[in-house]
């Protein structure tokens, strides 16, 4: 990485770099759930974020890295006002965002549900321009819902 490193007022709440392997996803889910609940998400809201992160990681593992076992994923969660912003960075060859689309649900078949679930669970999910050094950067946004006011 190059360029000036200004102080970061918006340092991420959570930053986790992990091997792009299925066996890692359980602890990733637990970390995301803990952070989302800690930021005031109701359990249902936290569960939606957990599902979206899990499905997005699966897409990276299965498609971007195409099953290669040596890739890595960097997960960051930031707070932006009343939203949680989740970023997933990989170092795989660039994916064509137009090919990452939810499929027609009337066509009942085993694969291709993950992207649909991400879009259902989050308020926004888009690939950011390719980060320096290559790879892919997916940004997802979710409005924090506490479910009910506590006071």
């Amino acid at each position: 990485m190059s360029g000036p490193r200004a102080p970061e007022p918006g340092a991420p709440l959570l930053r986790h770099r992990f091997p792009a392997r299925a066996v890692e996803l359980r602890s990733v889910r637990e970390a995301v759930r803990r952070e989302a609940l800690g930021q005031g998400c109701a359990p249902e809201c936290a569960a939606d974020i957990v599902m979206a992160v899990d499905e997005a990681c699966q897409n990276i593992i299965r498609h971007a890295y195409a099953g290669r076992g040596d890739g890595e994923i960097v997960l960051e969660i930031e707070r932006a006002g009343e939203d949680l912003v989740v970023s997933l960075r990989d170092f795989a060859p660039p994916v064509d965002p137009s090919r990452v689309r939810p499929r027609d649900l009337d066509d009942v078949r085993p694969g291709g549900l993950g992207t649909h679930l991400i879009r259902e669970c989050m308020d926004g999910a888009d690939f950011a321009p390719a980060p320096p050094g290559g790879g892919n950067l997916l940004r997802m946004r979710k409005r924090i819902s506490s479910g009910q006011e506590k006071r």
């Binding site: 299925a22 066996v23 359980r26 957990v50 699966q58 009942v108 085993p110 549900l113 993950g114 649909h116």
Partner: protein, 106 residues
């Protein structure tokens, strides 16, 4: 993920529990496809499933479609709220037969 298989009233009941995720869903897939291939009607008890992802749901779809081609029964029983939510988001609550309780299914 853990699983048990038992027989009740002539039907095979496969109970999955824990997390059915990218790591464990290949085992769920093999289990369910094997049971369907045996030619029996299969009930998949989801009451112990804390989390199921798209790969787990894909295993259910694959077994369901194999059973349909074979003309044998295949249904889901007592999905937890989180499992039911995934099925609903995938619009599969209208595809699968889903029973609230095992007693309803038998």
């Amino acid at each position: 993920m853990k699983h048990t298989v038992r027989e009740e009233a002539g039907v095979v009941v496969a109970a999955l529990s824990g997390d059915v995720d990218l790591e464990s869903s290949p085992r769920a897939r093999e289990l369910l496809l094997g049971l369907v291939r045996d030619g029996r009607s299969v009930l998949v008890d989801l009451s112990g499933v804390g989390y199921i992802d798209s790969s787990g749901v894909a295993s259910l779809i694959e077994a369901f479609q194999l059973a349909r081609r074979a003309g044998t029964g295949f249904a889901l029983v007592s999905p937890t709220p989180s499992a039911l939510r995934v099925l609903q988001l995938a619009r599969l609550d209208r595809v699968f037969t889903i029973h609230a309780t095992l007693a309803d299914a038998l």
